[in-house]
C-alpha cells in the first residue's frame, strides 16, 4: 500500500492509502506501484489517477508540479488540479475551441508551446469530466 498525498498551491487535494497511481510526468505517463524506487519527477499536463484501497479510482486533471516517491510515501505537488465534480464541461469545451483557433496562427514559438499545453489541459479536463459516468 502507498500513502498518497496530493497538494496544490491553494489547498490539499487528496490524502489517503492507495494501491497504485498513474501520473503524467513531463516525459510521459508514469505508473507507481508499491516498492517503487525512490523518485523525484517533474509533471506535465494530463490525468492523475489514484487507485484507492477499495478498488475505486479517483481521477484529477492536473497541470505541472512534481512527484516524489520515498518508500511507501508518495507526494504529488500539482500546480493545478481539478476533479470531475469541479469541471464545467461546457466552459472547458469552449475554451478548447478557442485554444484550437489560436493554435492555427500562433504568434511565437513560446505562445505555441503555451497553447499546446493549454489544449492538453482542456482535453484532460474533458476526459476527467467524462470518466465520472
Amino acid at each position: 500500500m502507498l500513502d498518497v498525498v496530493v497538494v496544490s498551491p491553494a489547498r490539499p487535494v487528496y490524502e489517503g492509502r492507495a494501491k497504485g497511481l498513474r501520473v503524467p510526468s513531463a516525459e510521459g505517463q508514469l505508473g507507481i506501484q508499491p516498492k517503487h524506487a525512490d523518485l523525484v519527477a517533474a509533471l506535465g499536463v494530463g490525468e492523475l489517477k489514484i487507485e484507492r484501497e477499495d478498488g475505486k479510482t479517483d481521477a484529477f486533471a492536473v497541470w505541472g508540479g512534481f512527484l516524489k516517491v520515498g518508500g511507501t510515501k508518495v507526494t504529488v505537488l500539482v500546480d493545478r488540479a481539478e476533479k470531475a465534480a469541479e469541471i464545467d464541461k461546457a466552459a472547458v469545451q469552449k475554451e478548447l475551441e478557442e485554444t484550437k483557433k489560436a493554435l492555427r496562427a500562433p504568434k511565437s514559438d513560446e505562445s505555441y508551446t503555451q497553447l499546446m499545453e493549454q489544449r492538453a489541459w482542456c482535453q484532460s479536463r474533458i476526459r476527467v469530466a467524462d470518466s465520472r459516468l
Binding site: S8, P9, A10, P12, V40, A41, A42, K68, L77, D79
Partner: protein
C-alpha cells in the same frame, strides 16, 4: 438639570450606535478571518513539500550555487517590499508594519545601500508619502482581499526580475508573519537570494513540518539517492519559480489573515469600550434624572410650604 439629562441621553444614543457598528465590524472581521486562516493553513503543505524537495536535491550533491537565485552578492542595492493593509480600523497593525519597514529602510540607507522601496496597501503608501520616504512603486488594487495563487505571479515577476538581472542584490519583504492565531509579528524576510539554510526551516517556521521529510533525508545520508526525472537540475529549474511564487502567495495570505485578526481584536476592544461608556453614561443619566426629580419635589414642597 433637564438640559444635562438630555445631553447625556443623546450621548448614550450615539455611543450605542457606534457600538453597533464596531460589533458588526468585529463579526465581519471574524468571519473573514476564518476564511483567511484556512487559506494560510492550506497553503502551508505545498510550500513545505517544495522546500523538502529542494533540500533533497541539495542533499544529492547538486551544486545549487549554480542557480542565480542562490547567488549571494555584496549588497549595493536592495529591493524592499513593505506590505500593509488597504484599510484601517485595525489597531496598530499598519503602524507596526510601517515602523519596521521604515527602520529596515533607514538601516540600509545608513549602511550605504541604495533601496528600491515598493509599498503595498493604501495605508502604507499614504504613510510613507507623508513621512517623505520615496517609493519606486506602489500597489493598492493588486492587494486582494482573497488572494489566489495566481495573484502571486504579478509580484513574483516584479520581485525576482530585478534580482536575476543584477539590478538589485537582495529582495526583502516586510510583512505580518502569521505564526499562530495569537502572534503575527511584523517580520522582515529575505526572499532573495534564497539562503541554503532557510530550506531547513529556521526563519520561515517550517521547522515543525520537517518530520514528514525526515525519512527522505536519512536515506540520502545513507547514500541512496532517489532517481530524478528528467534530471535534478531540470527539476530545480522548474521548482525555483514555483517555490518563490508559493512563498509570495503565503505572504499575501498571511497578510490578509493578520489584518483581519488585528481588526477583529481592535473592534472587540472598541465594542467593549463602548459598552463601558454606555454603562457609565447611563449611571450619570440616572443621577441627573434623580437630581432633577429631587429638585422638582423640593420646589413643589417649597411652594406648598410658602402657601401655608
Amino acid at each position: 438639570m433637564a438640559e444635562q439629562a438630555k445631553v447625556i441621553r443623546k450621548r448614550i444614543k450615539s455611543v450605542s450606535s457606534t457600538k453597533k457598528i464596531t460589533k458588526t465590524m468585529e463579526m465581519v472581521a471574524g468571519a473573514k478571518l476564518r476564511v483567511a486562516q484556512q487559506r494560510v493553513q492550506s497553503s502551508g503543505p505545498y510550500l513545505d513539500n517544495l522546500r523538502g524537495l529542494m533540500r533533497e536535491i541539495g542533499a544529492c550533491g547538486v551544486d545549487v550555487t549554480r542557480w542565480p537565485h542562490f547567488e549571494t552578492r555584496e549588497v549595493k542595492r536592495s529591493l524592499l517590499w513593505i506590505i500593509t493593509a488597504n484599510r484601517g480600523l485595525c489597531g496598530a497593525f499598519n503602524t507596526n508594519l510601517i515602523r519596521l519597514g521604515k527602520k529596515t529602510y533607514e538601516q540600509k540607507i545608513a549602511g550605504g545601500i541604495e533601496v528600491d522601496l515598493h509599498a503595498s496597501g493604501r495605508k502604507g503608501v499614504a504613510a510613507l508619502r507623508y513621512q517623505g520616504v520615496p517609493t519606486v512603486a506602489t500597489y493598492i488594487d493588486e492587494m486582494k482581499d482573497r488572494p489566489e495563487p495566481s495573484d502571486a505571479d504579478f509580484f513574483q515577476k516584479i520581485l525576482t526580475e530585478p534580482f536575476l538581472n543584477g539590478d538589485v542584490d537582495e529582495v526583502v519583504v516586510v510583512y505580518p508573519h502569521w505564526i499562530n492565531s495569537a502572534r503575527q509579528p511584523p517580520t522582515a524576510l529575505r526572499l532573495l537570494p534564497i539562503a541554503p539554510e532557510s530550506e531547513t526551516g529556521g526563519t520561515e517556521g517550517g521547522g515543525k513540518q520537517t518530520d514528514g521529510d525526515a525519512p527522505g533525508q536519512k536515506r540520502s545520508a545513507h547514500g541512496v539517492t532517489p532517481l530524478f526525472e528528467p534530471s535534478a537540475e531540470e527539476i530545480l529549474d522548474r521548482l525555483l519559480p514555483l517555490y518563490l511564487r508559493q512563498t509570495i502567495y503565503s505572504i499575501l495570505a498571511e497578510a490578509v489573515a493578520s489584518e483581519q485578526f488585528a481588526r477583529r481584536v481592535a473592534m472587540k476592544l472598541a465594542t467593549d469600550n463602548a459598552e463601558e461608556m454606555v454603562t457609565n453614561l447611563t449611571r450619570d443619566y440616572n443621577k441627573a434624572r434623580q437630581a432633577q426629580i429631587t429638585k422638582e419635589l423640593a420646589e413643589i414642597i417649597g411652594g406648598a410650604e410658602a402657601l401655608k
